[in-house]
């Protein structure tokens, strides 16, 4: 099984790269072949990835959340999977190249640095922790996808305002749709993060003797949750539109990255496992 895991670990970045290339060619060349093949390529990539993650869980007897690079692999999968669903249910067909690129990035890092972790802390074998981490990661994947659509919205907005009607103008969907996609991704991300926080609130005090509500990771996650919660409220209640709401979510995403970096890399936390 270990040989299969290693083979799949090498195969995955290639699969994601091929998928990225097909989406790129579909965006630039507009050929029917690429249009038909892109979703098949993405489905093959995420299916293989799911199988790989299942094999790892089974072989190493813990969910694949015990190192940064296992987390990166889950993040690559979560982003690919979120986009697969989004493309399936929405009319957006030309934005994959911007999203799948992120999966390629995380999976390449994971493939290079991931280790076979048989020996891990007992707490990392806990299924509740697995659920907590995976839902939080899916939540952050939602925010990432939202940021991608936010950036595309901003580019498209500027192109239309400046009378630039090139490839981006022709291929990207309407501003209204980009805004909707960004908003829906934030809602999905927010719900998943809320779920992750709820599990954390119930389970963390029992699992850690040194638990404190003043932990940097808890504070940063709460800040992220508050930022996106406020964004959703202003959009729904305050009737914010277009550029204003997109700008809010993009700033929110930048703060998320910053706070996560500070909490995970700079400041000490009971909540750090690696």
């Amino acid at each position: 099984m270990l040989t299969q895991i290693h083979s799949l670990n090498i195969l995955l970045p290639f699969l994601y790269f091929v998928t990225f290339a097909v989406y790129f060619l579909d965006f630039t060349k507009e050929l029917k072949f690429f249009n038909r093949s892109k979703r098949i390529a993405l489905f093959a990539s995420i299916s293989t990835h799911l199988f790989y993650l299942a094999l790892r869980t089974f072989e190493f007897q813990h969910p694949p959340i015990t190192s940064k690079f296992e987390i990166f692999s889950i993040l690559a999968f979560a982003i690919g999977f979120s986009f697969f669903l989004l493309e399936l249910i929405s009319e957006v067909h030309k934005t994959g190249v911007f999203v799948i690129g992120i999966s390629v990035f995380f999976q390449v890092l994971s493939t290079i640095f991931i280790l076979d972790n048989y020996e891990v802390k007992e707490v990392l074998r806990n299924n509740l922790l697995g659920l907590h981490v995976i839902s939080a990661l899916l939540g952050y994947a939602g925010f990432t996808v939202s940021a991608v659509y936010g950036i595309l919205f901003t580019i498209m907005y500027k192109q239309i305002k400046r009378n630039k009607f090139g490839k981006i103008f022709v291929q990207l969907p309407s501003l209204e749709l980009l805004e909707k996609l960004s908003f829906y991704s934030v809602i999905i991300g927010f719900l998943l993060l809320t779920f992750a926080i709820s599990i954390g609130i119930i389970w963390l005090p029992q699992a850690f003797s040194d638990f404190t509500y003043l932990d940097p990771k808890l504070i940063s996650t709460t800040i992220v949750w508050l930022i996106f919660g406020t964004g959703i409220l202003t959009k729904l209640v305050g009737n914010w539109y277009g550029k204003k709401v997109i700008k809010f979510f993009l700033i929110g995403y930048a703060l998320t990255i910053l706070s996560m970096f500070l909490a995970n890399v700079i400041l000490p936390s009971f909540h750090s496992f690696y």
């Binding site: 009319e91 498209m156 239309i160 305002k161 009378n163 009607f165 103008f169 990207l172 969907p173 309407s174 501003l175 209204e176 749709l177 909707k180 009737n239 914010w240 539109y241 277009g242 550029k243 204003k244």
Partner: protein, 428 residues
């Protein structure tokens, strides 16, 4: 192939000449009757605002364009026409020209979608007036096929190539659907009407018209199932609209920067599209500085039109490839026409012999026995004639050497002493 035609288009004549020579449906019908009586055995007349074309097979088989020109000029009495206003086509070039017209690559606006419908109508008129035969019908069918293939397999008809349509295309890049949007068209002239029609075609939920002359607005609103807004109350009601098209002939701005700014406050920042398709402009372009205000004028929309025209231009080689392929197919079929009477004659000759011999033994056999012999005779003849028939068709379909087809035909007729008169080519 003695197929000839004359063509006057935007490439060869001014708009005044084209207008003067334009034929209505009734006039086309009358002209066809004259052509049918005196010049052509079959053909067609196509007349649009950009072209008048007359094509057909001369009854006398000569490549003489003068009678066609004379008939047309006697019919329309157009002055100041010069010989260079007409391009003359014959045989292969005539067929190719018709295919090019149907594909839209010969149009003033390359890839014009209307021309295929106009060509179909012209062909239909010929059929209705019994001005067709198997060859012209084949030309008609192939032309329509070329037109359809060009639209389906190339991007020759893609993208907006008019200002109003380009404006609607930009609107489509701001709003995902027009089904829950409201639009206001200011100006009920030709441009305003075109813009309003495009919006209606795209499924706009609420359409309103405003015009200085209220009656004119009302008339257009009735035509497009829209509401009318009084011109004086325009600014007060502006916030109700997501899309505004302005196409008046007013000298100054109808909507100033402050009007739009106030409107955006009332709309609480909801995006608005301002399409200023008037010349001189109706809306102060400073409005484009406001957030969520998408202002475009003729100059900016022209960028899209030119881009799309360039794209269509680059698709011409693909359309020409389709035309070439269909020409090969058409002439392969046409060349078989030379051999068809010979094949028919040889089959009839053998069947006659078979029937004669069957007649001789008809009463010498039981009915069951006769049926078996009859079946066997037909099968035998079928098998004997299969290879010569197929070989003759193959030679004709190659179409590389018409003399080979003719000499083969003569040889077959000589060998079997076929009555040449009764087996003359029927279709030509």
């Amino acid at each position: 192939m003695n197929f000839i035609g004359i063509s006057l288009t935007h490439k060869t004549a001014s708009i005044e000449v084209r207008e003067a020579l334009h034929l209505s449906k009734e006039e086309s019908s009358e002209l066809i009757l004259r052509l049918k009586e005196n010049i052509f055995s079959s053909g067609f007349v196509l007349s649009t605002c950009n072209r008048t074309e007359i094509f057909g097979f001369p009854k006398d088989g000569k490549f003489d364009f003068q009678p066609v020109l004379k008939t047309l000029l006697d019919f329309k009495h157009v002055e100041n026409l010069k010989p260079e206003n007409f391009v003359k086509y014959f045989s292969c070039s005539a067929v190719k020209h018709i295919f090019k017209v149907a594909s839209g690559i010969d149009s003033l606006i390359i890839g014009d979608s209307q021309i295929l419908g106009q060509t179909k109508d012209a062909f239909q008129l010929s059929e209705d007036l019994e001005f067709t035969d198997s060859v012209t019908k084949r030309i008609f069918d192939t032309s329509i096929k070329v037109g359809k293939l060009s639209i389906r397999e190339t991007l020759i008809g893609e993208g907006a190539v008019t200002i109003s349509f380009a404006a609607v295309q930009v609107v489509g890049k701001i709003f995902s659907s027009l089904e829950n949007k409201s639009a206001l068209v200011i100006g009920a002239g030709e441009t305003g009407e075109l813009a309003a029609t495009h919006l209606r075609d795209k499924g706009i939920q609420r359409l309103s018209i405003a015009n200085r002359t209220f009656d004119r607005a009302e008339k257009l609103a009735k035509k497009l199932n829209a509401n009318v807004i009084e011109f004086d109350k325009l600014k007060d009601k502006l916030n109700e609209f997501d899309i505004v098209f302005s196409a008046t002939s007013a000298e100054g701005f109808i909507l100033e920067y402050d009007d739009i700014k106030l409107n955006m406050k009332k709309r609480k920042g909801q995006p608005i599209c301002l399409m200023d398709i008037a010349l001189p402009r109706d809306i102060n372009s400073k409005a484009s500085q406001l957030d969520n205000v998408f202002y475009h004028d003729i100059d900016s929309l022209n960028i899209i039109v030119n881009q799309n025209l360039q794209k269509r231009q680059s698709e011409i080689p693909k359309v020409e490839k389709i035309i070439l392929s269909e020409m090969i197919s058409f002439f392969s079929w046409y060349n078989t026409l030379d051999i068809v009477p010979t094949i028919k004659a040889i089959r009839e000759f053998f069947e006659e012999i078979g029937n004669d011999e069957l007649e001789k033994i008809k009463y010498k056999l039981s009915s069951d026995g006769f049926e078996k012999v009859e079946d066997m005779t037909h099968r035998l003849l079928g098998r004997l004639l299969h290879n010569p028939t197929m070989r003759l068709r193959q030679i004709a379909e190659k179409g590389t050497d018409p003399n080979e087809v003719a000499s083969m035909s003569v040889l077959v007729k000589e060998l079997f002493d076929l009555n040449s008169e009764s087996h003359e080519k029927e279709t030509k």
